[in-house]
C-alpha cells in the first residue's frame, strides 16, 4: 500500500492522478483505442461505438443520480430529445454535424430545465416518478408533432460529414465516438473536483445540511440537470448517427433502466464505475448470445426469439444481485482486490 502522500504544491492536490503507473496505463489504453480500427473487424467496431454511446450516457446519468443523488428514470426521454434534435437538424435542415451535435446537447439541456424546475421541490422517489412521467410525455409529443418529427414514421439520419468523411459508419464514426467519449469522461472527472462537483456530492449526502452550509440548492440541482442532460443529449445524437434511423420505439423505458443498471453495476457516484458498468452491460448481450450458442443446440431459436426478454432479465438480475451482494459495484470490487494484493500476504 502506498504511504506518505506528501504534496508540495497546490497543483498536486488537484491533479487527476499522481501515480505514474495510472498515467502509463491510460497512455497504453489511449494507444490501443486509437489503433483499434486496424485490429478488429467492422462488427466489433460497431459494438464498441454502441458501448461508447452507453458510456457517455452512463457518465452523464452518474452526475445526476450518482453524484447529486437525484434519481432519474427519464434518461430515455433525454436520449430521445438528443437523437431527434440531431436527426432533424441534420436531415431536414442540412446543418453540418459539428453544429448539430452541440445543438442536440443544448436542446436536451433546455428541456431538462423544464423538468428540473418541478424537481427542485421533490426528492427521491417522487423525483423518479416525475422524470418517468416526463419521458412518457416526451415520447408522446414526438409521436404527435408530426410536422417537426415525422411522428410514427421516424427520421432517416443522413448527410453527417466531418472533414469530408462520412461519420455514420466505419472508422470515422469510431473516431468521432472516441473523441466524444474521451471529452465526456474528462469533463466529468474535472467537474467532480471543482466547487460544483463538491456541491453536488454535499447535496446528495444531505441536502438540508448542504443548504445550511451555503450551497444554493436551486442553482446546483438545476446545474446537475443541465450538465447531465447535455451529455445525455450528445449520447442520443451519437446513437442516431450510428443507427441512421430514429423512431420513438427505440427510446423505451428499458433504456432508462439500462442506464441505471450501468451505474449501479459500476458503483454509484464514481466516473470510473459508470464507464466500467456501461462497458460491461453493453457487451452483456453479446456474451449472452455466445453463451446461449454454446449451451443450446445450433438450431434452437430460443435466444433469437426472446432476445429482448433475455436482455431485460439479465439487466434485472444485474441490478438485484449487485445491490444485494456488491453495493459498491465493480469499482468497489477493484478497490477490495487492490487492497488485498497490496497487503498480501498480511491482508487483515
Amino acid at each position: 500500500m502506498r504511504t506518505g502522500h506528501l504534496k508540495t504544491s497546490p497543483g498536486q492536490l488537484v491533479a487527476l492522478s499522481d501515480s505514474p503507473a495510472v498515467w502509463a496505463w491510460v497512455g497504453a489504453l489511449a494507444v490501443g483505442l486509437i489503433l483499434l480500427p486496424y485490429l478488429v473487424g467492422n462488427y466489433m467496431l460497431t459494438l464498441v461505438v454502441s458501448a461508447m454511446a452507453a458510456v457517455i450516457g452512463a457518465v452523464a446519468l452518474n452526475m445526476l443520480t450518482g453524484q447529486t443523488g437525484l434519481i432519474s428514470l427519464g434518461q430515455s426521454g433525454f436520449l430521445a430529445v438528443g437523437a431527434y434534435a440531431n436527426a432533424i437538424l441534420l436531415s431536414d435542415y442540412g446543418l453540418p454535424v459539428w453544429l448539430t451535435l452541440p445543438a442536440a446537447g443544448l436542446t436536451a439541456t433546455g428541456i431538462s430545465l423544464i423538468v428540473g424546475v418541478p424537481s427542485l421541490r421533490l426528492k427521491g422517489l417522487y423525483l423518479a416518478i416525475t422524470t418517468l412521467a416526463f419521458s412518457f410525455i416526451i415520447s408522446h409529443i414526438i409521436l404527435y408533432s408530426e410536422g417537426l418529427t415525422h411522428g410514427p414514421n421516424g427520421i432517416f439520419v443522413k448527410g453527417a460529414r466531418l472533414f469530408g468523411y462520412d461519420v455514420q459508419r466505419g472508422w470515422p464514426l469510431y473516431y468521432l465516438a472516441l473523441a466524444l467519449t474521451a471529452g465526456t469522461i474528462l469533463a466529468a472527472l474535472n467537474l467532480t473536483r471543482t466547487r460544483i462537483g463538491r456541491a453536488w456530492i454535499a447535496i446528495r449526502d444531505h441536502d438540508i445540511a448542504a443548504r445550511a452550509m451555503g450551497i444554493d440548492l436551486v442553482r446546483y440541482k438545476l446545474l446537475a440537470f443541465a450538465v447531465s442532460s447535455f451529455f445525455v443529449g450528445i449520447a442520443g445524437a451519437l446513437m442516431s448517427l450510428q443507427l441512421r434511423f430514429v423512431n420513438v420505439d427505440v427510446f423505451g423505458l428499458i433504456l432508462s433502466i439500462e442506464a441505471l443498471a450501468m451505474i449501479i453495476l459500476g458503483g454509484m457516484g464514481s466516473v470510473a464505475g459508470a464507464v466500467l458498468g456501461a462497458i460491461f452491460l453493453s457487451f452483456l448481450p453479446e456474451v449472452l448470445r455466445i453463451g446461449f450458442s454454446l449451451v443450446t443446440d445450433p438450431n434452437s431459436t430460443f435466444y433469437t426469439n426472446y432476445v429482448y426478454e433475455i436482455r431485460g432479465i439479465a439487466y434485472g438480475l444485474v441490478i438485484v444481485v449487485f445491490l444485494r451482494f456488491k453495493p459498491d459495484g465493480l469499482v468497489g470490487m477493484w478497490r477490495d482486490a487492490k487492497k488485498y494484493w497490496s497487503n498480501w500476504p498480511l491482508a487483515y
Binding site: I71, V117, P118, R121, L122, G124, L125, Y126, A128, I129, T130, L132, A133, F134, F136, I137, H140, L143, Y144, H206, I208, A209, A212, L253, I254, I257, L260, A261, I264, Y306, Y308, E309, I310, R311, G312, I313, Y315, G316, L317, V318, I319, V320, L323, R324, P327
Partner: protein, 290 residues
C-alpha cells in the same frame, strides 16, 4: 350529453382499475416505505396465473377468484422473501431499485413462459351487455367498480379492527417503536406484500377480462402512479379516490382535448400536483431534521 355520460362511464371503469392497482402500491408503501415499481408486473403475473388456472380447470369467476387470489398471495410472499427481505436495513433507494430490477425480470419471464401474443381471457364473467339508464356496461366493467368498493371497504375494516391491521398502522407510523412493542416488523412487511399481491390478482384478472391479456399489462402499473401520487402514497382511500379521478381526467381529456391524451393526461396531472403539493392531496407531510 350522451357523449359526456359515456366518457364518464369509461373513465370510471379505467379509474377503478387504477384505483385497485394503486391500493396495492399504497399498501406496500405504507407498511414498508418502499415504492414498489414491480406492482404492475405483479398485476400482470397474477393475471397470467389466473389465465392458466381458468384454462386448466374451466372455472367461473367466483371459484377462480377463490383459487387465484391465494396462489397470487403465495407468489407475493415468495417474491418478498427472495428479493425484498434480504435488503432489510439497506437504504430505500437500493430497495426501490431492487423492485425495478424485479419488474424487468418478471416482464421478461412472463413473455418467455406465456409468449408475447395477446390472449382473450374472460375470467369466467358473462359478456351480456347490461344497461344502466341508457349507458351500456359489460358485467366485467361493473364488477371492476364493485371490486374497488369492496376492496377499499375490506382494507378499511382490516386496518381498523384486525390485530394485524393495527400492527401495520403502527409499523407505518414508527417502525422502531412498533418493534419495541413486540410487533414483528418483518412479518408485517411480508403481510403487506401478500395482501398487495392478492389485490393485484383481482385487478389483473378484471383488467384482462375488460380489455385483453397481453404482456404489456405491466404498463398499467406505471399508469397508476398518478393515482398513488394524487392520493398521497400512503393512503388507501386516497389511492382509490385518486384512481377514479385519474380515470375520469384521462377519459375526459381524450374526449375533449385530443387523441392520445389518454396516455399522458395522468402524467401531466402528477407533475402539476407535485409542483403544488409535493406530498400528494391526502398524504402526510414529513418533517425533516438535520
Amino acid at each position: 350529453m350522451d357523449f359526456l355520460v359515456l366518457l364518464i362511464a369509461t373513465g370510471l371503469v379505467a379509474g377503478a382499475t387504477y384505483g385497485l392497482i394503486a391500493i396495492g402500491f399504497a399498501l406496500i408503501y405504507k407498511a414498508t416505505g418502499v415504492v414498489n415499481f414491480a406492482q404492475g408486473e405483479l398485476v400482470m403475473l397474477t393475471a397470467y396465473i389466473g389465465y392458466s388456472l381458468a384454462g386448466a380447470f374451466g372455472l367461473t369467476f367466483i371459484p377462480l377468484l377463490l383459487v387465484a387470489v391465494p396462489i397470487s398471495m403465495a407468489v407475493g410472499l415468495v417474491l418478498e422473501r427472495i428479493f425484498i427481505r434480504p435488503m432489510l436495513g439497506e437504504p430505500p433507494f437500493a430497495i426501490v431499485m431492487v423492485t425495478v430490477g424485479l419488474a424487468v425480470i418478471l416482464r421478461g419471464l412472463i413473455i418467455v413462459v406465456w409468449g408475447s401474443q395477446p390472449a382473450n381471457f374472460d375470467a369466467g364473467i358473462p359478456t351480456t351487455v347490461i344497461r344502466l339508464g341508457n349507458v351500456p356496461f359489460y358485467p366485467a366493467q361493473l364488477i371492476m367498480i364493485a371490486a374497488l368498493g369492496l376492496v377499499v371497504l375490506a382494507m378499511w375494516a382490516f386496518m381498523r379492527f384486525s390485530r394485524y391491521g393495527i400492527a401495520m398502522r403502527a409499523v407505518a407510523a414508527n417502525e422502531t417503536a412498533a418493534l419495541l412493542t413486540g410487533v414483528s416488523v418483518s412479518r408485517i412487511h411480508a403481510l403487506a406484500w401478500v395482501l398487495s399481491s392478492g389485490i393485484a390478482a383481482i385487478a389483473g384478472m378484471l383488467f384482462a377480462a375488460n380489455f385483453k391479456l397481453a404482456p404489456d399489462l405491466w404498463f398499467q402499473g406505471l399508469k397508476s402512479f398518478p393515482a398513488v401520487i394524487l392520493g398521497g402514497m400512503d393512503s388507501i382511500v386516497g389511492a382509490a379516490v385518486g384512481g377514479i379521478a385519474i380515470g375520469l381526467i384521462e377519459s375526459l381529456s381524450q374526449g375533449y382535448i385530443g387523441e392520445g391524451m389518454r396516455e399522458i393526461a395522468g402524467f401531466i396531472v402528477i407533475i402539476l400536483v407535485l409542483m403544488v403539493r409535493p406530498y400528494g392531496l391526502f398524504g402526510s407531510r414529513d418533517i425533516e431534521r438535520v
